[in-house]
Every structure is written in structure tokens, then in C-alpha cells.
């Protein structure tokens, strides 16, 4: 073990990798701060640039970008009351009132410190929890793994869709699209329509960029965006208005740790995500506060709690990815795509086959948390300018990046056409209230699910009762059915309350 850690450290702790992590945080903070862009879009656009780089450098940069974007969202939330990313919406509740009091600097710095503490906590949990979970997962057979993926898909179906039914439809469509190309076991052509380009299936990156980036531009065009114009910053005479004092930080530490635990829990569970985590963090801070009446009027704990929680999602969100091969959130799904492009198949075998790379990545993640203390500082200073970049100037550049990004990985023009096609599909899906996120995650998990399902059926001689007679498989099947029933009941209850 120690030898593995030493090799991992020697591979990971290099200047080049430090630069990668720092660059990711910078780009993530920058793009996250601009309303209309988000971390997932940023990661999707950056993946093509990384394909010739070492896996450690590339993945450290992409995860850094994820973390940076989660923090970056708080910059526009605090300065403009316009969250740069959805997970920063809770931060705006108290961050913007602080700005109006002339304490924008204080709010942004508290958000930064809480983000860093949340991220360190979550990464430490990732390091500690991943090896035992992966070891446990190694004992699973095809039947257990097939049912585990089914459970993950059912949970993920709730991500982004208007109703559970539409989420399940999106998930099933993703699995159907995953069957395009050569059969994973018999190599028989399926839905290729005689095209060589489709033999390897639909290009993941092209589909991802189309579904997540191009479609988002079309949706924002339809909704008609209102350009963000930062108001002149209110100046305060208080010398402490732009910094966080030690008593203030100490007063928030309890909240930050509780939110970090909540955020990590949400991150480790597939489908829960950072938006829920941020609001849960905010809510627990308000309920446990001695002065709940101050929340919504510029309470520092109201900034610290959601920021610690939404950043704690990132590291913990990698736990199911690294150990089980199941992405817990959309950004994790995009990073899973990066793992695959770099020849690392996420799942329990990852820790057996590439322990140095994985432990090296863990080290870089913790290190990148400390970079977060320094790198976003210039962005805070340039905050007003950054958050006001007009989208009319931004979107043509993003669309050009989409085209070149889709082309760049495989140098294949067919992928560009695929990207445009899925851009339109993603736009229509959002319009019909289906979930591109659920479709994408199902598309990634589909081939694995198929292989395990067929292997299990081969072992049982075609008898599907194997999924009920194996205790763990039966448990995951029951959990899947339970998740569906629970969501139906929850939706009925919320409709009645409404």
C-alpha cells in the first residue's frame, strides 16, 4: 500500500499536474461566474483539449474545473443576485443582501473559505471510503452489478425531468441509443444502417457537447436572456467589509462542517446533486441558528452553508464513479466520459488496475482545494466585469468551440454532425420536459448494463429468476422498485400540498 502511495505521489505531484489542477480551477471559476454557463458545459468543452494529455493531468484539470465552477457560480450570485450556476442559487439569498450592505468582499471570501473546507472534507472522504467500497463491489457478480446499475438508473431518472415518467422515458431512450454500433458480446452490427462511422456507436463526446452545450445555447435563446449588468458596487467605510475576520469564520465553522457532511452525503448518492445539497445546507443552518430571523438579510452563515455543501458534492460525487462505475451527478457523468477517453474504465477494477493513477488523482484533488484559496482571488476583483460579459458575444464563440471540440477527439467530421443533431435533440427534450441529463447517464451506463444482464442470463441458462434468487441482486431490485414507489408517493403528496 505504502509503495503504491509512493508511486502515486511521484506520478501526481509534479509541476505539470499542479498547473493542470490550477488551470482547471481558474477556468471553472471564470466560466462558472458567467451567468448562462455552468461547470458541466465547461468540462464538456474542455475534454477534447485534454485527449493527448496524461490521464492524471487531464482529469485533475477537469475535476478542478468542476470545483472551480461551483465556487464561480457564487460570484455572480453574490454580486448580481443572478446565480452563475444553479447550485449557487441558495448563496444569493444572503450573499446579495451582503453586497447591498457594501460587504461583497466579505461574502465572496466567506463563500471561498466555506467552499475550500467543504471540498477538502469531501475529498478526504473520497480517499477513505473508496477503497473499501471498491473492495466490496469486487465481490459482486454480473447479476448484482446489473441490478445495481438498474437501481442507479432509476434514481438518476429523477434528474432534471419534469416528472418521473418522463425521467424514466429519457433514461430508457439513453439505453436505446447505447445499443447503436457493434454488439458488445457478438460484435453483430446494430442500427448502423451500413455506416462505418456508426460501428463504434454514437460518439460520447459529440453527443455530450450537443446535448449539454449547444442545446443550452438554443434554450437560452428561446427564453430570451436578459444581460446581466452589475450595479455600481456599494462602498462601505468599515475596514472589515471586504474581509472575513477570525471570529466570523469561527462562528461559521460548525455550520460549514455540518453542511460539508450533508453535501458529501448528497454527492455520494446518485441523482441527488449539488442544488439539493446547497438548499439542505442553507436550511439546516437557518434551523440551527440562534438568529434565524437574520437569514435572507445578509447572514454570513447563509453564505457559508450552501457553499460548503455544494462544494462537498464534488469529491463525494466521485465515490460511486470510481468504485462502482456509476456517476452520481451530471458533471460526474461528463468526467466519467473523460476517464473512458483516457482509457480508464470506471468501476471496482479501476482501483485494482490503476491504483497509482487513482491515488495520484486523490492527492491532486486535495491539493487543488488549496489552490482554490488563491486562484479565484483575481476573479473576485474583476468580478463585476466577468459577470457582465454579454452573451451575444459569448455564444458564437461557444458554438464554434462545440464544433471543434466534437471534431477534435477523433478527427472525424461525422462527430460534428452528431453533435449538431444532439444539440437539436437536447433542445427538443428540454422543451418537452424530458431530461437530457438522464439520457446521457443512461447512455454511458447502458453498455455495462447490457453486458452484465446478458452475462447473468448466460450463467443462469436464460432463467431471469437469478435476479431474485441472489440476495444482493434482489436487494438492488427491491430498492429500484422502492425508489419508483417512493417518488410516486412523494409527487402525489407534493401535489396535494400544492
Amino acid at each position: 500500500m505504502l509503495e503504491t502511495l509512493a508511486v502515486a505521489a511521484s506520478q501526481a505531484l509534479t509541476l505539470t499536474n499542479f498547473f493542470g489542477a490550477a488551470l482547471g480551477i481558474f477556468l471553472g471559476s471564470l466560466l462558472g461566474a458567467i451567468p448562462g454557463l455552468n461547470g458541466t458545459m465547461a468540462i464538456a468543452l474542455l475534454i477534447p483539449v485534454t485527449y493527448t494529455w496524461s490521464p492524471l493531468f487531464a482529469i485533475a484539470m477537469l475535476v478542478g474545473c468542476w470545483k472551480g465552477s461551483v465556487y464561480g457560480g457564487s460570484i455572480s450570485a453574490v454580486l448580481l443576485n443572478a446565480p452563475g450556476t444553479p447550485e449557487a442559487a441558495a448563496t444569493a439569498l444572503d450573499g446579495y443582501p451582503l453586497t447591498k450592505q457594501g460587504k461583497a468582499g466579505k461574502a465572496l471570501k466567506m463563500a471561498l473559505y466555506a467552499s475550500v473546507i467543504g471540498a477538502v472534507f469531501s475529498d478526504a472522504l473520497l480517499m477513505v471510503a473508496s477503497p473499501p467500497i471498491a473492495a466490496l463491489a469486487l465481490m459482486f457478480g454480473p447479476a448484482e452489478l446489473a441490478m445495481l446499475i438498474l437501481f442507479a438508473l432509476v434514481v438518476v431518472a429523477d434528474t432534471g425531468a419534469k416528472s418521473q415518467l418522463k425521467g424514466l422515458i429519457s433514461t430508457a431512450l439513453g439505453m436505446l441509443l447505447a445499443t447503436v454500433g457493434l454488439d458488445p458480446i457478438t460484435t453483430q452490427q446494430r442500427f448502423t444502417f451500413g455506416s462505418i462511422d456508426l460501428d463504434a456507436g454514437i460518439g460520447l463526446l459529440a453527443m455530450l457537447i450537443g446535448l449539454l452545450v449547444m442545446s443550452e445555447v438554443l434554450v437560452q435563446m428561446e427564453e430570451g436572456w436578459k444581460e446581466a449588468h452589475a450595479e455600481a458596487m456599494v462602498k462601505s467605510d468599515d475596514p472589515n467589509a471586504s474581509r472575513v475576520t477570525w471570529p466570523e469564520l469561527k462562528g461559521c465553522l460548525g455550520t460549514i462542517f455540518r453542511s460539508s457532511i450533508l453535501g458529501s452525503f448528497c454527492g455520494a448518492l446518485p441523482g441527488v446533486g449539488s442544488i439539493t445539497a446547497a438548499f439542505m445546507g442553507y436550511d439546516q443552518a437557518r434551523r440551527l441558528s440562534k438568529h434565524p430571523e437574520r437569514f435572507g438579510k445578509g447572514e454570513l452563515q447563509g453564505v457559508a452553508a450552501p457553499e460548503a455543501a455544494n462544494n462537498a458534492v464534488c469529491g463525494a460525487g466521485l465515490i460511486p464513479l470510481v468504485t462502482l462505475g456509476i456517476p452520481g451527478a451530471l458533471s460526474a457523468a461528463v468526467i466519467m466520459g473523460a476517464f473512458m477517453i483516457h482509457g480508464l474504465a470506471p468501476g471496482p477494477m479501476l482501483m485494482v488496475e490503476h491504483p497509482e493513477t487513482i491515488y495520484g488523482l486523490f492527492m491532486l484533488l486535495i491539493l487543488s482545494d488549496f489552490f482554490m484559496l488563491i486562484i479565484p482571488l483575481p476573479l473576485m476583483k474583476a468580478g463585476q466585469w466577468v459577470v457582465s460579459v454579454p452573451r451575444a458575444y459569448l455564444f458564437p464563440v461557444i458554438l464554434a468551440l462545440c464544433v471543434i471540440g466534437a471534431f477534435g477527439t477523433h478527427q472525424n467530421l461525422f462527430d460534428v454532425k452528431v453533435m449538431v443533431f444532439f444539440g437539436v435533440v437536447g433542445y427538443l427534450m428540454k422543451k418537452w420536459e424530458l431530461s437530457p441529463a438522464a439520457l446521457l447517464i443512461a447512455f454511458i451506463l447502458g453498455p455495462m448494463a447490457e453486458v452484465y444482464l446478458r452475462q447473468a442470463l448466460k450463467i443462469s441458462g436464460g432463467d431471469p429468476s437469478i435476479f431474485v434468487t441472489k440476495p444482493l441482486a434482489a436487494l438492488f431490485l427491491a430498492l429500484s422498485l422502492g425508489a419508483i414507489v417512493w417518488t410516486v408517493l412523494r409527487n402525489r403528496r407534493s401535489k396535494k400540498t400544492a
Binding site: 415518467l165 445499443t179 446494430r190 471543434i404 478527427q411
Partner: protein, 160 residues
């Protein structure tokens, strides 16, 4: 009376697509439904068919959410539809022309067209941002990553 027209149309459309898959596409482009290759596509299509019919039935009984449902989309302004359609046409042309006119010419044309569609009227920022982006992309992909961007058959012929 159908309560939620958008969901009803979606459900029926998906159901028809699934039947087409089960009756024609899977047998023709995968194999007989009872073979191992066709197991997953058949299972998943059957599941989508079931869910689509459920969606259609639900749409007959339950009205859509007034704020987020079909009604909200009917308010989309005609000019925005036109702009979205224009962007899709430009992007499609961009994808198809890359092979013929190459990265530089196609990207420059597409970016200028997109800027105009997005309402940017000043030529200096249009050209500066377009050329800057293209230069950056060329530097990044062609020179730094060694991943040549398409030159285009037409440009190649012209250069020869």
C-alpha cells in the same frame, strides 16, 4: 377532452416510434427479436412503449402545469423561433461545409453569421473575436496538440 396536449402528442409519437422499432428497425437492423443481440433493444423499446402509452393516458386525465407545461411554450415569440431555426441552419451548414471549405473559412463565415444572428452589429468586435477564437483554436489543436483541423477539399485543390 385531452388535458395536456403536449404530453399526449409526445406519448403517441414515442409509442408509434417504438412500434416502428419493434416491427421494422430491430428485425431489419439488429436481428430476430428472440436473439441475444436484439435482447436489450427489444427490452428497452418495450419499456419505452409502455411508458409512452402511460404518458398519453396520463395526459388525457391530468392537465399540464400552467407555468411549465405546454401553455408556457406557446408563448414563444415568432422572432425567437426564427432565430433558433437560423442558428440550427448555420450550425448544420458549418458541420457539412467543414469538409469542403475547411476550418478557417467555414468557421469564420459561421461565426460572423452567428454574431449577426445574435444581434451584434459592430464589425470590429465581430472580426476581432472571430479571428482571435480561430487563432486560439488553431494554436491549441493544430500546433500544441498536433491534431490538424480540416483544410477542406476545395481549399486543398486550390492550394495545389
Amino acid at each position: 377532452m385531452i388535458q395536456n396536449r403536449m404530453d399526449f402528442k409526445l406519448g403517441i409519437g414515442l409509442a408509434v416510434f417504438c412500434i416502428f422499432l419493434l416491427v421494422y428497425l430491430i428485425p431489419k437492423h439488429v436481428g430476430p427479436l428472440n436473439e441475444a443481440d436484439a435482447l436489450m433493444p427489444t427490452l428497452v423499446t418495450g419499456f419505452v412503449l409502455l411508458l409512452s402509452l402511460l404518458l398519453a393516458v396520463q395526459a388525457i386525465r391530468r392537465p399540464g402545469d400552467k407555468q411549465h407545461g405546454a401553455e408556457s411554450h406557446s408563448g414563444t415569440k415568432g422572432s425567437r423561433w426564427y432565430t433558433i431555426a437560423l442558428v440550427v441552419v448555420i450550425m448544420s451548414a458549418y458541420a457539412w461545409l467543414l469538409d469542403i471549405t475547411g476550418f478557417v473559412l467555414t468557421s469564420l463565415g459561421a461565426m460572423v453569421a452567428l454574431f449577426l444572428v445574435f444581434g451584434v452589429k459592430r464589425w470590429l468586435p465581430i472580426l476581432a473575436i472571430s479571428l482571435g477564437t480561430l487563432g486560439g483554436l488553431y494554436l491549441c489543436f493544430d500546433i500544441m496538440l498536433g491534431a490538424p483541423l480540416p483544410v477542406g477539399t476545395l481549399v486543398e485543390t486550390f492550394l495545389e
